[in-house]
Every structure is written in structure tokens, then in C-alpha cells.
């Protein structure tokens, strides 16, 4: 086998793709269709709550095309980080959609589900053994943090996916997986170079975001050979350029020369990017270096309370000039009124001043109008509602120095003015854990018929 072709339909399962691009991809006879379904970018809520940041109907729309193509062509379909965050509730949610599609097609293909949830007890033991390290500037991991973490997963490497394929799976639905894994597993199993396969996967996982012009909702094709790989956009309106592909290697990473992952790191020191005709780019020189011990990355999120927000505008220049002190005074009034409730968080975002950058804002000078988001977070929704409501009414009628507009300080776009926003989570675990090998943490369950 001199070449293995990998079709990546979209940047995130549920972000969509033009059918014409997908059909172009199928014309190239892919050996595997692979897709990444997740990201930590949308924040801690999705991992913590067990919900997906993508919509069910959008995921189903994409999956229908992928499953049909996999079944008709008898090629594997590999889905990584099911349900957006890859914990058990996310995997079950995605599995339910998958089952619905398979039932409607009336087909029964061998399906492997790989879970990535981590037993707290194991992490406690590893903590005591000193086999847990913070990943970058993360919080210190404590026993309390672990017990209040609702969903705790580890990023799997290629090993569990290869094991599932070797067990005969045609469709692999994986929990939390290192992004390039879905794309690299089959090539590595077939004897292709790990470094090149993972680097190609690293680019394919974002699909046409790496093309020019970029899009998160379009397909990208990867051709892996033994000494290099080639990337091709499948929409005539896009092309892969040397710069778009090289630039993508920077995306969401801190050091493009050295990309760490499960069990090792990709070394890009000698990587070259070469422009080919037809809007294609050839990449070579990337090397995988295994680390002495196998580390996986743990991710967890914990519930910290409930949020209520209120949105309002301010146009009065006399008030805008003293907005900081007005907000401080209102916070004091709230505290004084609810002195029995000391455990809440009250914050006012000031759009038009420093709403986007907060303390990093180098020029916090207000414009002619401000957009305020009053935010309260507390142990219950009821307390959050109470604090937000009281802060809003106090701010509305607060008599600041020099006030002329004595009828009210805020312009509300909506009635009701306050919105309960529900559960609030924060990332609680972002650590590396040493394991014996890449397969131990990730149980594989075979569903459907065995070939």
C-alpha cells in the first residue's frame, strides 16, 4: 500500500459541509472517513453538564451522509470526541443519533464505542504516586477538586481506536480523543509513519479551516504516502496554499515546532511545506518522538453555581463618566441588603469600555453609550435571581452625584429584563497522568454484528 486517503468532511461534526464537496471527496476513493466532534473551546459548561455544544439535528444531518458513505463503500467511519466533550453522557447522546440513522437505513454494521471517563480512585492513587503533573499554568489538583468534578475524561491516543478497528469495527465512536487520532489511527495500523499521520490528522481535524479562504463547514482530503502527505481542498472555491497549511499548524497551539500529545510529541523542526499544482500542498519531515513515559491529558469541570444575567444600555454622559464608582456603590448596596448571603458573585460587564478585554484592556475609555451585562452567580438559581434582580433595580434608580435623569438610569431592550442562565461550571482538571500504555484507560464495547 503506497497511499492512504483520508476524507475529513467538516471541522466539527454538526458544523455541516456542502454535499458537492463531500461527493468530490468520495470520488477520490477514501480508505476512511474521519471526523472530530469536539473541542474545549466553547468552555467548561459542556464538559461539566454532559451536554453538546452542537445541535442534535445538525449532527444527525452530517452523520447521515457519513454513515451512508461508510456502509455503501464498506470503509471505516471514525468519530472522535463524541458529543463535543467525549464524556459518557456525550457519547451516549451521539450513539443515540447514530443508532437512529442505522435503524432508518436498516443496516447492522459492527460498531465500537470507546469510553474515556476516568475513575476518580485511579487519579487519587496517581496523585499519591506523583504521576500527575499540571499541564501548563493549570490549578493544583486536590482531592476536593476531584470529588466535585462532574465529568472527568482523558484524551486517548491512537491505540484504542486501532484496537477497535482490529476487532472488526466499521464505525468507531470514540469518547475524548486527541484531535488527530481519528484521522491517524487507520494509517498507523496499516504501517504508515506515525509522525506524518498525526501531523496530517492535526490539519485534517479542522477540515477546510486550513484552506484558503478558510471554512469550518467544508471538506478537506488528505493523501498520506510513506515519505510525505498531500492536502487538497474539495471545493473549487478554495485551495490549499503553502501559507494556509503552514499557518494552520500554529492554530490553538503555543509552540508550533513541538506539539505534545498522548505518548509523545510531534517535532516540526525539519518540516517543509511545498506548493503543488491544483491547489494542493505537500508536507514532509515531521517526526513523532515517543516520551519515556506515556502521559495522557485529563480534563474535568466542576459545578460552581447558577447564573442570572440582565442586559441594559446607558446613554447618559454624566453617568457614563462615573460608571465605575456607580457600579461599586450598587455592589455595596446589594451586599448591605443581603448581608446574610455572603457567598455570591456579582459582576457588571461594561461593553463600550472594557467588556471584551477586562483587565487586559489598555484603553478603558467609555464611548458615548455603554452596554451593561449584570451577572450574578450563586449557590442556587433562586439566590442568583435575587441578587441579579436587586442589583438591576438598584442600578436603575441609583442617585449618583450630578444626576439629572431622575426617572431611571438604564435602557432595557427586553421585558422580562433578567434571564436565569442556569448551571455554571469551571475547568477543574487540566493535568497529565502517567499510564502504563495507551490502551489501559479506554474500554471498548462492540455493538452490532461482528464481521
Amino acid at each position: 500500500m503506497d497511499e492512504i486517503r483520508v476524507l475529513s468532511p467538516t471541522a466539527i461534526l454538526g458544523y455541516g459541509f456542502p454535499v458537492s464537496s463531500f461527493e468530490e471527496g468520495l470520488k477520490r476513493n477514501p480508505h476512511v472517513i474521519a471526523v472530530d466532534a469536539g473541542s474545549t473551546d466553547p468552555g467548561p459548561y459542556y464538559l461539566g453538564s454532559g451536554k453538546s455544544f452542537t445541535q442534535r439535528s445538525a449532527v444527525k444531518r452530517d452523520l447521515e451522509f457519513l454513515v451512508k458513505a461508510s456502509v455503501e463503500r464498506n470503509i471505516p467511519l471514525i468519530i472522535g470526541t463524541a458529543g463535543g466533550s467525549g464524556a459518557r453522557p456525550h457519547v451516549e447522546w451521539n450513539l443515540d443519533i447514530l443508532r437512529e440513522i442505522l435503524e432508518a437505513l436498516n443496516v447492522d454494521v459492527p460498531l465500537a464505542v470507546i469510553y474515556s471517563d476516568i475513575d476518580r480512585k485511579l487519579v487519587h492513587e496517581k496523585l499519591e504516586l506523583g504521576q500527575i503533573l499540571p499541564c501548563g499554568p493549570a490549578r493544583t489538583l486536590t482531592t476536593e477538586t476531584l470529588s466535585s468534578t462532574t465529568n472527568l475524561v482523558a484524551q486517548m491516543g491512537i491505540e484504542p481506536v486501532i484496537k477497535a478497528l482490529q476487532a472488526g469495527a466499521q464505525i468507531v465512536l470514540a469518547g475524548r480523543a486527541y484531535d488527530p487520532v481519528s484521522f491517524a489511527a487507520l494509517p498507523v495500523m496499516k504501517g504508515f509513519d506515525m509522525g506524518l499521520a498525526l501531523h496530517m490528522g492535526k490539519i485534517l481535524e479542522c477540515a477546510a479551516i486550513a484552506a484558503n479562504p478558510g471554512s469550518g463547514s467544508d471538506c478537506l482530503m488528505g493523501y498520506l504516502q510513506h515519505d510525505s502527505f498531500i492536502l487538497e481542498a474539495l471545493n473549487p472555491q478554495r485551495e490549499c496554499t503553502r501559507l494556509s497549511i503552514a499557518a494552520h499548524t500554529l492554530y490553538e497551539k503555543s509552540d508550533p515546532y513541538s506539539l505534545p500529545g498522548p505518548g509523545g510529541r510531534l517535532d516540526l523542526t525539519n518540516t517543509t511545506f511545498e506548493q503543488l499544482d491544483g491547489g494542493r500542498v505537500r508536507v514532509s519531515g515531521t517526526v513523532f518522538e515517543p516520551t519515556e513515559n506515556y502521559y495522557v491529558k485529563l480534563e474535568g469541570a466542576q459545578l460552581i453555581g447558577y447564573r442570572t444575567i440582565s442586559i441594559a444600555g446607558v446613554r447618559d454622559p454624566i453617568m457614563i463618566k462615573q460608571i465605575d464608582s456607580v457600579i461599586e456603590e450598587v455592589k455595596k448596596r446589594v451586599k448591605d441588603n443581603f448581608h446574610n448571603l455572603n457567598d455570591y458573585y456579582l459582576h457588571v460587564h461594561c461593553y463600550g469600555k472594557n467588556g471584551v478585554m477586562g483587565n487586559l484592556e489598555p484603553s478603558p475609555h467609555p464611548g458615548h453609550e455603554l452596554g451593561l451585562v449584570i451577572e450574578a452567580v450563586a449557590a442556587t438559581q433562586d439566590i442568583a435571581d435575587t441578587i441579579c434582580s436587586f442589583a438591576r433595580s438598584t442600578l436603575l434608580h441609583y442617585g449618583y452625584p450630578g444626576r439629572k435623569s431622575t426617572a431611571g438610569n438604564l435602557a432595557f431592550p427586553y421585558s422580562p429584563s433578567d434571564f436565569p442562565a442556569g448551571e455554571v461550571y469551571q475547568f477543574s482538571v487540566h493535568h497529565l497522568m502517567q499510564v502504563e500504555d495507551g490502551t489501559v484507560l479506554f474500554p471498548i464495547e462492540m455493538r452490532g454484528s461482528q464481521k
Binding site: G136, L243, A247, E252, I304, N359, P362
Partner: protein, 100 residues
């Protein structure tokens, strides 16, 4: 003295995981990249964002993309209380003032 923004093709910010914020500055060719890259220091970045130099984790020059990559510690983990930009995609504006 010239503005980096006039020479760059791309100036962007994004999370690099929930605890870091990373900035990419990309230039059209090797000449411009070489001209700009030596003049951007960790001290410049610390000053632009009003943070301590120790919070500027790295400045990497990535030759294949004619790119300078700057990574700083996020003021807090993505989505923590006080968050203003969960994806970190709108934290690049101060870089438009960089000169070389």
C-alpha cells in the same frame, strides 16, 4: 518606525487550551518576517497588555509560515467567573499598536 499591522497578513488571538492565550502574527514573505521578528520582545507584550513579563510564556518564530507566535498566561481559565472572551478570539487589538 512602522506599524506591524501594516506589514502583517494576519494578527489574531485564540485560546491554546483553557489556561493560555496565543497570538499569531503572519507576514507575506521571509523578508518582512525577518525585518519584524527581531523587534518584538516579551517586554513589549507585557507592556501592551499591562501584565508582568513572567506572564509572557513564549515568543516563537515559525519560519515555514513566516509567523511570530506569542503565548501569554490567561488572566484566568477559560469560562471562569469574570470571563470576557471564552474563545479568546478578540484579545489581539493591542497588537495593532506594535511598531518595528
Amino acid at each position: 518606525m512602522r506599524y506591524v499591522k501594516d506589514a502583517a497578513l494576519v494578527i489574531r488571538s485564540k485560546n491554546a487550551g483553557p489556561y493560555e492565550l496565543t497570538f499569531d502574527l503572519m507576514f507575506p514573505d521571509k523578508e518582512t518576517f525577518d525585518e519584524v521578528r527581531s523587534s518584538i520582545t516579551r517586554e513589549d507584550i507585557a507592556q501592551l497588555y499591562g501584565i508582568d513579563v513572567s506572564q509572557v510564556l513564549s515568543i516563537v518564530h515559525f519560519k515555514p509560515a513566516h509567523a511570530i507566535k506569542i503565548t501569554i498566561v490567561r488572566p484566568h481559565a477559560s469560562g471562569d467567573l469574570g470571563e470576557t472572551d471564552v474563545y479568546g478570539a478578540q484579545q489581539h487589538a493591542p497588537l495593532l499598536k506594535l511598531t518595528y
